[in-house]
């Protein structure tokens, strides 16, 4: 640690080489951050979609709302459950919805992707406090009007305010745009459930969402519903349900990204090694001199290790800093769990920053260790004689 200043000045002295090495490590850290931010962003969006204290009911083993079917009689029976909270007028806070996918072309590449269409009731909006109509108005009952989540409106043809989408033998006019605080609902189209059931010729629900009077009693509520032989349903906390929806894609992105980052890091480590070996070779006499002045082998080892760590840390900082700009980029891709298009953004977190720096430090240590050992192992007399 004695020679931080010396290490730092040496890095400055060989500008081009240091810069190239810093860039190499920066690039790797950037990719590493980007991947973690991507899967973090996906997870955050879906977790934000669920409300604390809400529960969701789907058909047993169906995994997603799209594949789930709940018949009217089952839905009505569940809605009467005493565990569901009631509003000021004594109406239970529960909604039964239908969710289907429609194929619609994206604005960006004119290629089709799946947009989720949710048939909702008046209670659907009460149960999601983050819901806010930001432009236009709600649909008129009994008409072919729908409202669009802000993300869908942006990325899909026909989903902007005033535009029309065709499905179920009808043209649907988008009369309003809504936001839900960045959650997954913003990637959906919402319409009146009766109109949509009619158009799709599908008189069954996909799911029920309810607010529990006492969230602590969730397990009891779940056991009661899942144990009832008339229902064959599955009950989950809403947050857990949506978290589950990101699992497959998150694992895929992480596995792919971490593999790529590791391969990349090998390249960067080799780059750092080349730089540091050259630094050691060029400064043989300097090393001998310092040893003659009384610096120990260990101090020399640390001086070179510090040099490589400094390079790695600067690279790491550049990588992290550049990666934070990715927050401005919106990603839209198919979530493989639901097969529906989902918009989300790169999200940084303090953990990602920590991991990125640990990653950079590891690259610096691995790349700098062998050259530093070589520097420390010179015999003073030999090193002094090198020219």
């Amino acid at each position: 640690m004695l020679l931080i200043h010396y290490s730092y000045k040496n890095i400055l002295a060989r500008k081009l080489t240091s810069l190239l090495t810093v860039f190499g490590i920066g690039l790797v850290v950037f990719v590493f951050c980007a991947v973690l931010m991507l899967s973090n962003g996906l997870g955050e969006t879906l977790i934000a979609t669920g409300e604390d204290g809400n529960a969701i009911v789907i058909r047993k083993a169906s995994q997603t709302e799209v594949q789930s079917i709940i018949y009217r009689d089952v839905a009505n029976a569940i809605k009467a459950d005493a565990a569901i909270e009631k509003d000021a007028d004594g109406v239970p806070i529960v909604t039964s919805e239908i969710l289907v996918l429609i194929n619609q072309n994206k604005r960006s590449n004119n290629k089709p992707s799946n947009v989720p269409v949710r048939g909702v009731t008046g209670m659907s909006i009460n149960i999601r406090p983050a819901f806010k109509l930001v432009e236009g108005r709600m649909w008129q009952p009994g008409t072919s009007e729908i409202i669009a989540g802000s993300k869908v409106a942006e990325s899909f043809q026909g989903c902007g305010l005033g535009e029309t989408v065709r499905f179920g033998m009808r043209d649907w006019t988008v009369v309003g745009l809504f936001e839900t605080g960045g959650s997954g609902f913003e990637s959906e189209l919402w319409g009146d459930i009766d109109q949509l059931m009619d158009a799709f010729g599908r008189p069954v629900f996909s799911s029920l969402t309810m607010r529990l009077a006492n969230p602590e009693e969730f397990e009891v509520f779940r056991a009661r519903l899942e144990g009832d032989p008339r229902y064959t349903v599955e009950v989950m906390r809403e947050k857990e349900y949506y978290e589950e929806q990101s699992k497959f894609t998150t694992i895929f992105i992480n596995a792919m990204g971490v593999t790529i980052s590791i391969i990349f890091s090998l390249g960067a480590i080799v780059g750092a090694m080349i730089t540091m070996y050259a630094a050691v070779a060029n400064r043989t006499t300097e090393i001998g001199t310092m040893r003659a002045l009384g610096f120990s082998r260990r101090t020399i080892l640390f001086a070179f290790l510090t040099e490589s760590l400094l390079i790695a840390l600067i690279g790491g900082a550049i990588g992290v800093l550049t990666a934070t700009f990715l927050r401005l980029v919106e990603v839209s891709t198919t979530n493989w769990n639901t097969f529906a298009e989902l918009a989300f953004s790169f999200e940084i977190s303090s953990e990602i920053v920590l991991y990125a720096f640990i990653f950079a430090i590891v690259m610096g240590i691995v790349g700098g260790f062998l050259p530093a050992v070589r520097a420390a192992r010179f015999r003073i007399v030999t090193a002094l004689r090198a020219k």
Binding site: L2, H5, Y6, K9, L12, A13, E286, G294, S296
Partner: protein
């Protein structure tokens, strides 16, 4: 004669090249009292530098004993040697061996990093050392902005900054023009007279050796009186 400060007793040194033994120093005995100024002379390849390295503890004798101020240098462990060197020895090299990335001040400050001095104390000592060598106005200059003579004076400042009692110089004038060489030897002589430093200089330049009180001659690994 005062008691000896640097003492070499029956020192032998040889190098091994594969299986071939190359003798360098043969049965050297040397006594240098404190406050002496000694010049070791001899043609190149005579083993002068090796002798100096043995005294500095950066090389070890094949047999025999080297002691400085009563401390047996040849018996210390390597890390103990490094610590010992930083406190007791100032080293001056033929090619100055300054760190090119550090300026004059930082170069002189380098050995002080091994001490417990704080930043202000270090600054004071560096400034003192640089003013002794007459370069107080060149503190911010980098080695490549200095002349050879100036570089060597910075190196001497580096050697004295920790206030060691022994200064070892290996061909300090070997790479300098006549006038600079004169200045450097004058400086060493002053350090000897004014600060009572024990100085051992290796040189093959008789003019430089004149400044020393004692001149010893090394030839084919053996030490002779002149």
């Amino acid at each position: 004669m005062s008691k000896s400060f640097v003492q070499l007793h029956n020192v032998n040194k040889s190098y091994w090249r594969d299986t071939l033994e190359i003798p360098v120093l043969h049965n050297i005995n040397l006594d240098v009292p404190e406050g002496e100024f000694v010049a070791l002379m001899g043609p190149s390849g005579s083993g002068k530098t090796t002798l100096l390295n043995l005294i500095a503890g950066i090389d070890r004798p094949s047999s025999g004993e080297v002691s400085v101020n009563g401390e047996s240098v040849s018996r210390l462990s390597e890390s103990a040697l490094a610590r010992w060197r930083s406190r007791n020895i100032g080293f001056v090299f033929q090619f100055y061996n300054l760190m090119p990335v550090l300026n004059a001040f930082e170069n002189v400050e380098l050995p002080l990093l091994l001490t417990k001095l704080n930043r202000r104390e270090r600054r004071r000592q560096v400034e003192t050392a640089l003013s002794i060598v007459g370069l107080a106005d060149r503190m911010k200059h980098y080695p490549n902005q200095l002349s050879g003579g100036q570089e060597q004076r910075v190196a001497i400042a580096r050697a004295v900054v920790t206030d060691p009692r022994l200064i070892l110089a290996d061909e300090p004038t070997g790479d300098l023009d006549k006038q600079s060489a004169e200045e450097v030897m004058e400086l060493l002589s002053r350090l000897n007279k004014e600060f009572n430093k024990t100085i051992i200089v290796v040189t093959h330049d008789p003019r430089a050796a004149e400044k020393a009180h004692i001149q010893r001659h090394l030839d084919k690994g053996e030490l002779n009186h002149l």
